[in-house]
Amino acid sequence: MRTRRIAVVGLADDASQAFRSMLRILDGRDGLSWSLVAPDAAEVLIAGTQGGDALARGWALTNKPLIAVYEGGAARPMTPYTLHHPFRVMQLLGVLEDVDQALGGAAPEAPRAKAAANHTAWNFAESLRLLARTSAAGNLHVAGSGAERVFVRDDLTVYYASADIVQRLSRQALELPALTLSSAKPPPNFEARPVFELAWFSGWHAAETPAPWIEHTATYRLRRWPDFGLLRGTRDQLALAALLTHGSYSRARLIEVSGQPASMVDRFLNACAVAGVLASTGDAAVPAENASTFIASSAARLGGLIRGLRSRLGLTG
């Protein structure tokens, strides 16, 4: 029986009690036991926003995998592991399995080391990912200087930037340094925009090769579709999202099945990872549980009809 150590920080009483009850139900499942410990001794944290600044500072910016619990109409934290309270026991199991895989699965005493984002192309994106793991204290973090600054609220609801920055964001890498805590306020002419947009394009433009945290041997799926209404997604991105929400793929397998260039697939995986919608499944070629089967007539005719419809509607590319 393997054992992992998990701590509860900043959860409301009802969420904490529910979690502890569910943990007892899941104890020993698949040969894995979760032991409740103090935060300092934990390998994994499950955290909410209760408890105030003193508690938040105690675990903010930790490198431990963090399961962020949010409630009501609060925005989903942009971090790989989240649970919306009230959550079900199978939802908790899924997240715990993801975290266990990320820590190396069968080797709890030697968690898989995540390489620090040394490459300057990833400084900003990595700091944004880390910000997703801190407490939401209502603080602003800033990157850049002067009119080239970007402000991000630590609850990851909005970012503030000039209209020029917002326009350039979708077209090119902004080459921003890492975010740092700041007492400065955004200038009045800065626009408030959804953080998902900033995270997506930061990940998309950072590099045409896999991000430091993308494992070549891992398999991935999407937790949810990116909002392509906001992002103005391309056909290639729609196709990749369709694949990754209906199955789990390694990077290599995704390149093969999609027929898209490696650079496109890498950009897509990077963007999804920074935006917090990519999940590692750790098991190659396992169809997603909710994979759908669609009813249609002749396959050959459908393909021709879809091409004809796209052509008729002007959906090129």
């Binding site: 759908s292 393909g303 879809i306």
Partner: protein, 183 residues
């Protein structure tokens, strides 16, 4: 689907933009069976669709893509089943500013099989209005039911937004189609 027709259904509550969306891509102005809206307390709209909307996109070789908009009121639910029969896919349009928008999402997605019988794409309108639910709320709602459907913020008065919904539906159809061919 028959050999010469391909059907896309637009569904959602009254006022979500079904008629507008069909009109954005149909070859001709959609045929709408409108009547006076007698429920002005619930929705301030002069007319509403009592039967259905119908539009058409003619392709080469006599093939037609038929666009159907379901009536939005629950009392016409029997028509959703009829229109959904043999549909290639469904586009669900929801107004985020409506108080019961999440309940509406549940109802319409569930009525068309939750994405298991045919692909479903969800378009959320008015998400930027004061007091409207965030897009995240709708995605989270679907996740809590074990569904990972495309959920996009759209304005169906913009043709490009309607085309995004349709193109996503087509990508999902291609995925299901390629899966069958490789099986």
């Amino acid at each position: 689907m028959s050999e010469t027709e391909f059907k896309i259904v637009f569904t959602g509550p009254m006022g979500a933009g079904k008629t507008t969306a069909i009109g954005a891509i149909s070859d001709e102005p959609p045929v709408s069976t409108d009547v006076t809206n007698t429920d002005r307390a619930a929705f301030d709209k002069a007319q509403t669709t009592a039967g259905l909307d119908y539009g058409r996109i003619a392709l080469d070789d006599g093939v037609s893509v038929r666009l159907y908009g379901t009536p939005g009121q629950l009392r016409f639910r029997f028509m959703w089943d009829i229109l959904g029969h043999n549909a290639a896919g469904v586009i669900v349009l929801i107004d985020a500013s409506q108080r019961d928008a999440l309940v509406q999402l549940d109802a319409f997605v569930d009525a068309f099989g939750g994405g298991k019988r045919m692909p479903i794409v969800v378009g959320i309108g008015r998400s930027g209005e004061p007091g409207a639910l965030s897009l995240d709320a709708f995605a989270q709602r679907l996740e809590s039911h074990g569904m990972t459907l495309p959920v996009f913020g759209v304005d169906v008065r913009r043709r490009d937004d309607v085309l995004l919904l349709v193109d996503t539906l087509l990508c999902l159809l291609e995925l299901g189609d390629s899966g069958r061919r490789s099986a």
